[in-house]
Symmetry: C2
DNA sequence: TATTGTTATACTCTATAACTATA
DNA sequence: TATAGTTATAGAGTATAACAATA
């Protein structure tokens, strides 16, 4: 039959219904941004969630595991495996909690602080890159509207 | 020490840096909307991606697997396991492709059409519910801005 | 009795390599 | 040689149950 089998195809796909759904669009947007994140953060061997954990420890020295779980929507058994390699890489250090013998207070090590200074700078650059199609005010609006959805 | 260990805690967590990132907010928003989706679509035994597949087959009768993969960002090996139960439940039917002997043309069965009429109506209701904090124009703006991010 | 943190485990989602049949 | 679809498999991500230590 030898039709050219063009790529992209001559018959466009109708995605209008899906594209009318906030959930669908938010997921596609998140995946697009996270893909860039993965590529650039690979240099630091950080995944999105690892980065989020380190960022919260940086800005909240002494934070506990259960506080991290609440803030990030992670279940406690899953946080264990996230923290373990970060401690092993000496980015995070676990100290006894001052008021609660059950808990551990998490702190960045100096290695962790050095890495996160670079990683957060990279994240901020990526942010501009990922939203290159948006004006400054559009970007601000988008952030506000997304927060309203999950608040 | 007997501090009340309040829930939520008395010391709020500083999440300002993460909340400045589009990727973080888009992911949180997507997860919030998808959680509601999961709950309400459980009645139809549909997951978000299964729903997306059925919706594209409904609006693009005769669509092929590779077109579905391209449109939804799914890898071909993973689509196989998605389609199998939909065929087994007799929601989708696979016909020979009219012009390409390698491909299969996908169509909804009458069972599939009946299910998707209800499921798409439910999705549209959910949409209003999930964006109850947004005005009509805010919702339109959010959709446009999300599309700009992943376009 | 309730909470923090942990182990073990299972299920889903996503990714890669290799194969077949058709083009 | 390239593409459509498939199998097998491995790795993340996410979920529940059950436990020890401490509150």
């Amino acid at each position: 039959m030898a039709e050219p089998t063009n790529n992209p195809p001559a018959e466009p796909i109708d995605t209008r219904f899906l594209e009318s759904l906030i959930g669908y669009n938010a997921r596609r947007a998140a995946l697009a941004v996270i893909e860039q994140f993965l590529q650039h953060m690979a240099a630091y061997e950080l995944r999105p969630v690892s980065f989020s954990v380190l960022s919260l420890v940086k800005h909240n020295p002494g934070i506990t595991s259960s506080q991290l779980c609440t803030a990030l929507g992670i279940l406690p058994p899953n946080l264990v495996g996230l923290l373990k390699p970060l401690v092993k890489r000496a980015l995070i250090e676990r100290r006894p909690h001052p008021h609660d013998g059950r808990a551990m207070a998490l702190h960045l090590t100096s290695t962790g602080r050095t890495l996160m200074a670079k990683a957060e700078a990279t994240a901020a650059e990526l942010e501009l890159q990922a939203t290159a199609n948006l004006s400054k005010s559009e970007r601000t609006t988008l952030l506000q509207l997304l927060k309203k959805v999950y608040a």
